[in-house]
């Protein structure tokens, strides 16, 4: 497949979520690699505002025509906001995984765990390993 888009300014998880860090608030979504493997996203079950989330635990769901996939929280914390526009336009996850296709903003309770996330170079290596 074509090489995935991996923006340098973001952090990444092994579950193929991306994270943008601004103070103690992170914006997250699924990566270009993830949206490509899932194919057409036709439904996103968004997390509720105020929901407590735990790093590595499923906290919402994206569905393609053929599959249902969990989305894992990249950090511990609480959901500040979910991207309501995905209810009408779930395809934005495919079209702009790092832009209009963002899924949630989470207020982190422990900034230390951000260090566990991969930077773009590490994630690219991780993807290369996944391919083999």
């Amino acid at each position: 497949m074509d090489e995935s888009n991996v923006p340098a300014e973001l952090k990444y998880t092994k579950g193929h979520e991306w994270v943008k860090i601004e103070g103690d608030v992170v914006t997250m979504g699924i990566t270009d690699f993830a949206q490509h493997s899932l194919t057409d996203i036709v439904f996103v079950e968004l997390p509720e505002k105020g929901k407590k989330v735990y790093a590595g635990k499923s906290f919402c769901v994206v569905e393609s025509v053929k599959s249902v996939s969990d989305v894992y929280a990249p950090v511990n914390g609480e959901v500040l906001e979910a991207n309501g526009s995905l209810e009408q336009s779930p395809e934005n996850v495919n079209k702009e995984p790092y832009g209009e296709g963002w899924i949630a903003k989470i207020k982190t309770s422990d900034s230390g765990e951000l260090e566990n996330l991969m930077d773009s170079e590490a994630y690219k290596k991780y993807l290369a390993e996944q391919e083999h």
Binding site: T39, D40, V42, F43, E45, V61, E63, S64, V65, K66, V68, E87
Partner: protein, 364 residues
Amino acid sequence: MFKTPLNNAHRQLDAKMIDFGGWDMPVYYSNLIEEHSNTRENAGIFDISHMGEIFIEGKEALDFADKIFTRKISGKEDGKVMLSVLCNENGGILDDLTVYKFSDEKLMVVVNASNTEKDFNWMKEKAAEFGSDVEIKNESENFGKIDLQGPKAQEILQKLLKFDLNEIKYYHFKVLKRENNEEIVSRTGYTGEDGFEIYVPAKKTEEVWNSIITIGNGLGLKPAGLGARDTLRLEAGMMLYGNDIDEQHTPLEAPYVWVVDFEKPDFIGKNALEKQKKGGIKQKLIGFEMIDRGIARHGYKILADGTPVGEVTSGSLSPTLKKNIGIGYISADYARIGNEIGIEIRDKLNKAKVVDLPFYKRKK
């Protein structure tokens, strides 16, 4: 894994391949929804070579067919295709299939890939048990099968044939001889569109596939994978064996009442089905449309008045209707069109309503 004669062709087209019941099959080529819509609007070409072709030949072919299939096969003209069901003694569905009548002494039965061995063995055993003067042959390996479906299917196929395709009526077939090969062409399909199922010698399948794709190129033809095939058939209200129907369900519970002929003197499962009919059908397969958001999936619970009343067997976004649709069995008391039901999706109850099948009907 089993490979169809088109395996190489799919790889050249860069298809996404999956293990489909032990077969290495294309689930999509570029995009499932586009392949779906293109089949509805123009035409799609599908590799269905994994399906089985079993022949029943001999003096008592029709008599034997009437005994094993729920539908009456005798009394129909040569060149007719008949959808039917094969039941066990309990009325459970062993398979749903099509029967092609070549003559009083030759029938071709087209069966689901995963059931080919089971059906073949069943037919052989029953032929021995009844002492029928028939020979049962599994010819599946010798055939490739290409489905060409959609409003432009006839225009495309006609360019390859001298034979006037208008002469093949709905649910009929013709054996066409082309360059020393015999091809069986029927006006049938699994998408809800007009179109053809084409049976070709295994060795010629790739050649025929490529020539249809070349001819269809300027007419909007695109290859479509099993993913689009599944959403197309669901919109058209057609059953998928193993998902929607199985040995635990009877044709009277599924929308196959019309292929059960109780007028026939006898057929396997008749007693059980008559008993079920007299006692009243307790559960029925229904179609539903989601009212709340969410996609129902195979195995999700259906509730009514707060209690479980059934289970979803297939569910998806309908690319044509842009709604979330599904089918499933529910207690007959709740099967009325318009009834509100609930689908349990990840521990939450989502509203849906019972609707008529099929979800989609093409304009004539």
